[in-house]
Subunit: 211 residues, 2 copies
Amino acid sequence: MPQPAAQPPQQSETVARILAAAEELFSRRGFDAVSMNDIAEAAGVSKANIFHHFESKNALYLAVVRNACSDSVERLQQLQHEDGAISGQLADFAGNHLKNMLEHDQVSRLILREIVGEEGARRAQELAEKVFGQNFAMLVEIVRTGQRRGELRADLDPAMVATLLIGANVFFFESQEVLRHFKDVDFAREPERYSRMLMDILLAGIRAPKP
Amino acid sequence: MPQPAAQPPQQSETVARILAAAEELFSRRGFDAVSMNDIAEAAGVSKANIFHHFESKNALYLAVVRNACSDSVERLQQLQHEDGAISGQLADFAGNHLKNMLEHDQVSRLILREIVGEEGARRAQELAEKVFGQNFAMLVEIVRTGQRRGELRADLDPAMVATLLIGANVFFFESQEVLRHFKDVDFAREPERYSRMLMDILLAGIRAPKP
DNA sequence: TAAGATACTGACCGACCGGTCGGTCAGAAA
DNA sequence: TTTCTGACCGACCGGTCGGTCAGTATCTTA
């Protein structure tokens, strides 16, 4: 029986159901607002059974985040290619980063919650920071390459450019619903347009001036 | 007895102490993670006394947010002036917006939590959205003026520019601690420098090209 | 088929939650 | 002095929380 050979060993169907239910609930309502009873009911198992498979509520949460993280980076890494103008690569990265967030919004919310979230809640921060950090480092590298090639302004801090780009995406993702209420904003439901406008401004700001 | 005549009527010292304690705890740990007992202890009153002054935990939270909101917009409105180049006005706004957030980080976190926060938690959203929206509208107006004056590119959506600027600030504010861990980032503790670099890129991206 | 591991359950625990209750007490009004 | 009021308190309510446990069903293996 040939398996994709991904996850650590394997997952019983029950465990998978628990993880799925927990992921859904945690990312929609947060850690505190979800009880083990909720998860048990949603997964169709007894609460005690969850404690049979996971040491504690914290451990379950950690497993959920770990599960979610594993996919996240891969998706973006696949999209990397060395050829083509840097501006195109940046636009690709930005567009896909935002698209990924929106498509997997539950997972994104979950990871974001860890990174941005409460002060006292250091549950899976390290884990989430790693994912986040990998994306960030990848982006910084693209910018550096662009600077070496003379396509981008050399006087900029590449980490600043990366922060700006990722920040713009994250902010859009997390305040989508609020932006919708603002009369001046008409792009809140059009992420592709947002991405295009973002890159329009950003590229104009970081492109090396013509000699 | 001449009073500053600000706040609704006035506040007994006890109520003020409760509000202060609640604000501190709510903004540091969030709504769910704070119990009325915590607040009572921090304020040095009995829990029952809190319920004497506030109808419910929700009502207390609402009062805290209302209290926090009232100052927030004023601070930025005072900084507006009609004269001077738009680029300077934008830089001022951005710099002060970030500085305000950082200086009043508890209040900021509280309001941000309402705007960005959990899905099920619509406690004081309207209230917070109003504050947020006012800042946003103010900024859009500045950008529009710049476009009319020909200082800024006319082909840009002013709301997009505002989103980018506020988003950059919000993202910096909320991920400060994470950014600190990234080896490529050396500006996480220097908001002024961040603001300068931000405006450097942004202005280059939105300034009207010379004729 | 017997034995033993593993998956799973319902009943249950102490802690703590938001909120209420009966009552005390200082001071203003009469 | 008496009456009334509102701030304030300790004790307590029903309910939910994360977590435990004794026991049953199911599967594996010899």
